[in-house]
């Protein structure tokens, strides 16, 4: 595995951008920091979502299930005397296990079954957790730690760096190559000797584990956790929209969708809280009809036009 000059350039650029982003808390503005956390959270979720759904075109609507699983893992862990840092890897493992189970049941079959299954997964886990709480007579959970917003933000940035590195490494590996072939034509992939189910399940596990860790990291922010909050289905849909809006063809694509959409979403929820569902629906339609390849597609076709014009000039 040798790195070209271009690779070094992009690594340096990413490191510089990350360092700049890490300086945000220094402004001392609490509102900026809170937006920063939201953006960082969605950036990690959308990028890890696109790692799996980008090349394979299997749309996962289960982010909220993994997120809630992580949140609950941390909450229950802390309540039972575990160190916060121990709960993160536990959440990652549980997320990967849940993803593996879902993947084993659905990913061997056609993509529609996967979409349907993931659509209800968050609701399913929520019903089961609520039932468990009814049986044990406990309502919600308190997460009391000395972790501040700044810490959460920095943790998310570190996780983002890990996700980007993982995504970059997968893109160069045999697994990434196999997934691109599966995305182009699953039949061809199977005939060329790729174990398609294994490749898909492995990557879905990476994606699920990441979402679970994000959930754990945000648990201290909520302080009080109940099922309706941890498993809010809106989260899954927002992640899908942001990732597709940015474009899943490139590793940095989802980020391009996350930043503007988070700002738009915050503005709309603040001034028209009843119209958020409508906005969500319209965003899906805009993506299908106007931006099928996301902002990345726009940028790249723009670049190509520029190059053509230069060639003719």
């Amino acid at each position: 595995m040798s790195l070209t000059k271009r690779d070094w350039q992009s690594i340096t650029l990413s490191a510089v951008l990350l360092a700049v982003a890490a300086c945000l808390p220094l402004t001392g503005d609490a509102y900026m920091l809170s937006i920063g956390i939201t953006i960082a959270m969605y950036a990690v979720l959308a990028t890890s979502w696109a790692l799996f759904s980008g090349p394979t075109h299997y749309i996962s609507l289960a982010t909220a299930a993994f997120f809630g699983l992580g949140t609950y893992t941390t909450a229950i862990g802390i309540e039972n005397g575990l160190n916060y840092w121990v709960t993160l890897p536990i959440a990652a493992i549980l997320g990967a296990v849940l993803a593996a189970l879902v993947g084993l049941a659905t990913l061997r079959l056609s993509g529609v079954y996967f979409v349907i299954f993931t659509l209800g997964l968050a609701e399913l886990v929520r019903q089961v957790v609520t039932w468990g709480q009814n049986v044990s007579g406990q309502k919600g959970l308190y997460v009391l730690t000395d972790i501040t917003e700044v810490h959460i933000y920095w943790q998310l940035l570190v996780l983002a760096a890990i996700v980007y590195l993982t995504g970059w490494a997968i893109g160069r590996s045999r697994l990434g190559f196999a997934l691109r072939i599966i995305g182009d034509d699953e039949e061809v992939a199977r005939h060329s000797g790729i174990n398609t189910s294994r490749a898909k399940i492995l990557l879905f596990m990476v994606s699920g584990a990441t979402a679970a860790v994000v959930g754990s990291m945000l648990a201290p922010r909520y302080i009080y956790i109940e099922p309706a909050l941890a498993f809010t289905p809106m989260l899954s849909f927002l992640v899908v929209i942001m990732a597709l809006l940015g474009g899943t063809g490139r590793l940095w694509g989802p980020l391009v969708g996350v930043i503007p959409f988070t700002l738009l979403w915050e503005a709309i929820s603040a001034s028209f809280p009843n119209q958020t569902t409508l906005l969500l629906g319209l965003s899906f339609l805009v993506i299908v009809y106007l931006l099928p390849r996301g902002f990345v597609g726009l940028i790249e076709s723009g670049k190509r036009k520029m190059r053509e014009r230069e060639a003719f000039a």
Partner: protein, 288 residues
Amino acid sequence: MDILITGLLLGGTYALIAMGLNLQYGMARIMNLANGEFLVAGGFAAFWFYTAAQVSPLLTIFIVAPLAFGLNWLIYVVMLRPLVKRAKSHGQLEVDAILTTFGLAFVSVGIMLALFGGDYFSYSYLARPITLIGDTYGLNRVTAAVAAVIICGGLWLWLNRTRAGMSIRAIAVDPKSARLVGIDVPKLSALAFALGGAVTAVGGALISTFLTLDASTGVMFTLKALVIVIMGGVGDVRGTIVAALLLGILETFVATLIDPGLTLAAAYLLFVLILLFRPQGLFGRRTT
């Protein structure tokens, strides 16, 4: 025993809803995730007509059905046909259709929230007890189930005994070959999609007589209908009915004996079992 009958009554109504989705997914080949929203809209219409003018929900369905038919036909022709044309493969159409109908679902929830607010709505229609085999049931549940059975039967006859029905079943088997024997696939697909929407909306009007709905419950019904369609086998009318009755019974069983909050978990249990052991559906044959 009363669990069994309550389950069968619920399952009858589920069968109608799932039949609507099966027409759309099995025949028109569009995975419609906005299906449940049409159900809720049908329920809203029944509620509105009943509270405003005391119109019986059994009459409202004759208004709801043509409206839903027209609206779904428009949706197919204006929004979905371009996607069918643009799709290079079946997989791509599936992804596009899922995203589009998902968007439509949210748009309709948004519109319904704006029009009716986020409250639960219910009304009391035929809420009288009726005795069947020694146990008492709500007359509204029985009426809804009977109406559902009549409509399902009519659909089954139409699909099996008429030329249009047979053409639609041919499309369900293979859209490409259907064209070779002179079937107007685009026209009949639109018809099947519109009909599916109408059937679902009628199911919504019937279900609203005994269940409490609100603007955002649509997705739960979409999920249940999807589970039923997959369990019964895509495009298989008989399988859909059997699967719907099974789900109705299992759900009532879980709700009565364990916890009413676990109905989706019950549906998922069936779903997982089907995916693991009979992914081709209850009566489906394994395709080679």
